[in-house]
């Protein structure tokens, strides 16, 4: 093995083991930033040692043992600092004695540690962007450069965001633990929100040339899979995972050869990713079995699942989709969801029924400059052969839309309507 090979091997092990390493150290030290620092030190030790000694048989165990030893050293060095640390060091030494071998602890269920780490990184005390950055850094193992590219910002900005977030965590002295009871629900929703934010950040970037952004979707999916595996009794963890898997199943067909978006109903369903669809449907079923059918993410996943189950666009069960949107609208009260319900009702019952729903929300301030309202309205009016009115709506929609491709599409519809 050349030195370069060894380095590649080390980085591979590092990528997969980093989160476990930090999680274990964070439990020992009750200090996440310090845990991260010592984990990095273990990596440096590997980079120094392995090229000469060769990659050990159990590289992950080696890293963990080394990091533990460093943690112990660190605590000894700072013994005068705090009594808390002394106690910790004693606990730690006892722990070392009980589990002396390098294999020790490798097979322990450290899932709880990682879950604790996720809850800490997504702590409500931190700003949302900071939570996302910290989660990607500590759980996802992305570099600050990668995170900066993903969020279309600069490395120093992300660095600062992370440093500040870590300082907040250190200063607050908050309990490094998995929340329970009523707090759990609130904290879990903060975690789900962060993962969803990361996913959307990648998902809505269809126009960007930046290849990092789709990677954000992959990363969010991975985080979602981790969370669902670590908190298997939480319906919304499965609901969010299902939502992301089902969205991701369509990625291959979302754009055409020119990079233009392809509408859901026009996509080539043969190219949808069956593996991800099956995973998405399975996760949805788990969420529903756990009693979470009416959860925010689970309802959205259920809507995607109706599309995923339809063999062709014409087979789509619009009645069911309309009913799901009604349930979703019931607890979000969002006019955008009502707009989507109107589309589904228009497909299920006809344009007149859809139009009636649109008219009821048309005056909502949130929709004032939202191009989809006149665009959908124009579509309904055209179907009802009220061409003059439809034309006005398409022109209005075109004046509101920022994307040039979409504007041209709407102008074309306006000029062809009722001509």
């Amino acid at each position: 093995m050349t030195v370069a090979d060894t380095h590649r091997a080390i980085l591979a092990v590092w990528r997969t083991e980093q989160q476990r390493l930090v999680a274990i150290l964070a439990r020992m030290l009750r200090d996440v930033p310090l845990a991260e620092e010592l984990a990095q030190e273990a990596l440096v030790a590997a980079l120094e040692t392995w090229p000469e000694s060769g990659v050990p048989d159990k590289p992950a165990a080696w890293l963990i043992t080394t990091a533990r030893r460093r943690a112990l050293d660190h605590i000894r060095r700072n013994q005068m600092l705090a009594r808390k640390h002394e106690t910790l060091a004693r606990e730690l030494e006892t722990e070392q004695e009980i589990m002396p071998g390098p294999d020790a602890n490798l097979d322990d269920d450290i899932g709880d540690d990682i879950l604790r780490l996720i809850f800490t990184a997504c702590h409500p005390l931190l700003a949302r962007e900071a939570r996302a950055a910290l989660t990607l850094r500590m759980i996802g193992g992305l570099t600050t450069e990668e995170i900066a590219r993903a969020f279309l910002t600069t490395t120093p900005t992300i660095q600062q965001r992370i440093v500040r977030a870590k300082r907040t965590l250190s200063d607050s002295g908050l309990a490094y633990e998995t929340p329970h009871g009523a707090e759990l629900e609130q904290r879990l929703s903060a975690v789900l929100e962060v993962i969803y934010l990361i996913f959307n950040e990648g998902y809505s970037a269809t126009s960007g040339e930046d290849l990092m952004r789709p990677q954000l979707c992959d990363e969010a999916l991975r985080l979602g899979r981790i969370l669902a595996a670590l908190a298997p009794k939480e319906p919304e963890a499965h609901g969010l995972l299902s939502l992301m898997e089902l969205h991701a199943s369509r990625f291959p067909t979302r754009t055409d050869a020119n990079g233009d978006p392809v509408l859901l109903l026009d996509q080539n369903r043969a190219r949808w990713d069956r593996l991800l669809i099956n995973r998405g449907l399975a996760a949805l079923q788990r969420a529903q079995q756990l009693g979470g059918a009416d959860g925010f993410y689970t309802l959205q996943a259920a809507i995607l699942a109706v599309h995923a189950r339809a063999a062709t666009a014409a087979d789509t069960d619009w009645v069911q989709i309309a009913a799901l949107y009604a349930r979703l609208a019931a607890f979000t009260g969002s006019p955008i969801i009502e707009l989507n319900r109107a589309i589904a009702v228009g497909m299920a019952e006809g344009a007149a029924a859809g139009l009636a729903i649109l008219d009821a929300i048309a005056a909502h301030p949130a929709l004032k400059s939202y191009h989809l309202l006149p665009s959908v309205r124009g579509d309904f009016l055209a179907k009802l052969e009220r061409h003059a009115e439809a034309r006005v709506e398409f022109l209005r929609a075109a004046s509101l839309v920022a994307n040039e491709r979409e504007r041209n599409f709407l102008l074309k519809r306006a000029s062809s309507t009722g001509a």
């Binding site: 591979a12 990528r15 997969t16 290849l211 981790i226 020119n258």
Partner: protein, 121 residues
């Protein structure tokens, strides 16, 4: 990048129970790290494997020939990794577990990048 691992071996008969236990632990870890997205075991050829072959313009259906010492696929797993190195490291770890608990088990884990191309137009 998505990878499929095809585990092949000439060994017939049940592997030791301890191996299964250890592989299960490994799988649980891989699931909790978000890397393993699917897996499955295959029954031995005697359970009813068939070869449906196209040759010289003719499709034929025959029982899978039971040659001695022929490697057969015993199972598969699908992983999602950021880098090829991670995929290799994971396959090596998988085989190390076989080495330690397989009581002489020998075989190959064929690691194949899958054609997914999920983000291309």
């Amino acid at each position: 990048m998505r990878y499929m691992y095809l585990v092949k071996s000439c060994q017939s008969g049940m592997p030791p129970a301890r191996l299964f236990e250890e592989l299960d632990k490994l799988a649980q870890r891989a699931i909790k790290s978000g890397a393993m997205i699917d897996s499955g075991g295959l029954l031995p050829p005697q359970a009813g494997s068939m070869h449906v072959t196209l040759q010289g313009g003719k499709v034929s259906v025959i029982d899978m020939p039971m040659a001695e010492a022929k490697e057969v696929v015993g199972g598969y797993a699908i992983f999602e990794f950021k880098t090829r190195e991670e995929a290799i490291a994971s396959a090596v770890e998988f085989m190390n577990v076989h080495n330690e608990f397989g009581e002489g088990w020998e075989g190959t884990c064929e690691m194949r990048p899958m054609m997914t191309n999920p983000h291309a137009p």
